[in-house]
Amino acid sequence: MGLKEFVEKSFKKSPWVLHYNCSSCNGCDIEILACMTPLYDMERFGMVNVGNPKHADILVVTGTVNHKNKEVLKNIYDQMPEPKVVVAVGVCAATGGIFREAYNVLGGIDKVIPVDVYVPGCPAKPEAIIDGLYKAAEILKEKYEKMGKAEEVLK
């Protein structure tokens, strides 16, 4: 296996996940953490939780956006290298959920950054989160391949 194939394979088979809690109630966050623990074990799909946006391929966001954290979220998203995929976990990440009417809530995170996968539930079940992450990994693969084509055209 050449270096290029090796990089390609490890990229597709092992996406790294970054989790950011926008303004959630913690319910979805602890379910995401539960996904990493022995019972659900997200690592069998090669997904590793990382703390640095610059290392991450998939951004998992829980909770709604408010006036203070929208910049933080945008900042984290911008720091991630292309290609990247965003997963919105929980109904409040999708639409604002139960907090929708509160005065400091802007709505779902798609108001600030583009979202690829929505995982419903309040809180989303670990099984659903893993399913969503798996879908995200597939989208990541597609995006990666498209990017490769674009590079060839540019050559």
Binding site: E31, G51, N52, T64, N66, N69, I98, Y103
Partner: protein, 363 residues
């Protein structure tokens, strides 16, 4: 040679690997020592207290349940107790015991969760996995008895919405036996492990007087030797159950860890007592659609300490005002007292030692 100032400022958070929640600390460090710490908040502020104007008092139960996913049952409980006192209804005895059962199960899962995060903060990944594996048993119990894993929304104004029948209670006690086995294992590790001791003994010392002066609550306070526990006021069915507040005297992170570990055993015992003493009967009573005028405060012991609810109503369906003081808010002063003088490497441990819940604090 001209030297630049020895002080530098390091941002900690809002997105940080050890924190599942966004809190921002501006740390002024001198070499490796933290000299000052300034917190900044508002990343999780949603404005839930104001929602009382839009949702009626029954719907509000579900909103307060979503203040925090970790201790949601206790938020619901505190709110319901306040409204019940305002209306002046007596909750059926069985409902009171059921509330104790769910609240104590929440305490166990919250402490296990915290313990895992603490282990993760000092790099003991394996222990994180171990404690979360034990926690999954509690999640199973919650799902089986209430229908959801995390936010169970069992409390309603006037009682609870689900019952635990005899068969389920028997199964629950069997499961708890397994949890207890796991906890014993965990306790052994905490008591004997070199790494844990190195990272927690003598870290973040809070003397008895300081803890009292800064208004600390919960395990942070009890770890410093002050035996204050809201459950001793006898709300819900705690008055009929037999327990003592868990107290340790050293006041460091290790003491607080031991407090929490011992509290988990206490909680298991309380669940057993509650199930055995639970009388038969109704689980909720009907509530009139309109509230009387008045104000009420309630206090409930959450895993992180005392939560304080104040409600005010001038009649009608909606409350006028809801005010919540959460345990983490009370403990922040102690945290800011502990940070200066510590080394940078200890900051994650110190932040976790008060078991911060930012969702609660900012609502």
């Amino acid at each position: 040679m001209i030297r630049m100032s020895d002080k530098s400022t390091i941002p900690f958070g809002p997105q940080h690997p050890v924190l599942p929640e966004p809190i921002h600390l501006k740390l002024v460090v001198e070499d490796e020592k933290v000299v000052e710490a300034y917190p900044s908040f508002g990343f999780v502020h949603r404005g839930l207290e104001m929602l009382v104007q839009k949702k009626d008092f029954n719907q509000m139960v579900y909103v307060v349940d979503h203040i925090c996913g970790i201790c949601s049952a206790m938020h619901g409980q505190a709110y319901c107790q306040a409204v019940e006192e305002l209306i002046g209804i007596d909750v059926p005895e069985r409902a009171k015991y059921l509330r104790v059962v769910w609240a104590e199960l929440h305490r166990i899962h919250s402490h296990l969760l915290w313990f895992g995060l603490l282990a993760d903060a000092f790099g003991f990944e394996n222990l994180f996995m171990l404690s979360w594996r034990i926690r999954e048993k509690i999640m199973d119990i919650l799902e089986a008895t209430a229908g959801n894993r995390v936010i169970i929304s069992v409390n309603i104004v006037g009682g609870v919405r689900r019952d635990i029948d005899t068969e389920q209670a028997k199964w629950l006690l069997d499961e708890l036996k397994e949890v207890e086995e796991g906890l014993k294992e965990l306790e052994k590790i905490v008591k004997n492990n070199y790494t844990i001791k190195q990272r927690t003994v003598g870290i973040g010392v809070l003397s008895k007087d300081d803890a009292y002066m800064f208004g600390a609550v919960g395990p942070t306070l009890r770890g410093s030797g002050v035996p204050i526990d809201m459950r001793t006021t006898g709300y819900a069915a705690y008055g009929n159950l037999d327990f003592e507040p868990v107290v340790e005297t050293d006041g460091d992170t290790y003491a607080r860890t031991i407090v929490r570990v011992r509290e988990m055993f206490q909680s298991i015992d309380l669940v057993k007592q509650a199930i055995n003493k639970m009388p038969e009967g109704e689980i909720n009573v009907k509530v009139k659609p309109n509230l009387p005028a008045g104000e009420v405060i309630t206090r409930v012991e959450q895993p992180r300490g005392e939560v304080f609810y104040y409600i005010k109503s001038s009649g009608g369906k909606n409350l006028d005002r809801l005010r919540i003081r959460t345990p983490t808010f009370a403990n922040l002063a102690s945290l800011l007292h502990m940070l200066p003088g510590s080394t940078l490497a200890d900051v994650p441990v110190l932040v976790l030692t008060i078991d911060p819940c930012i969702s609660c604090t900012e609502r």
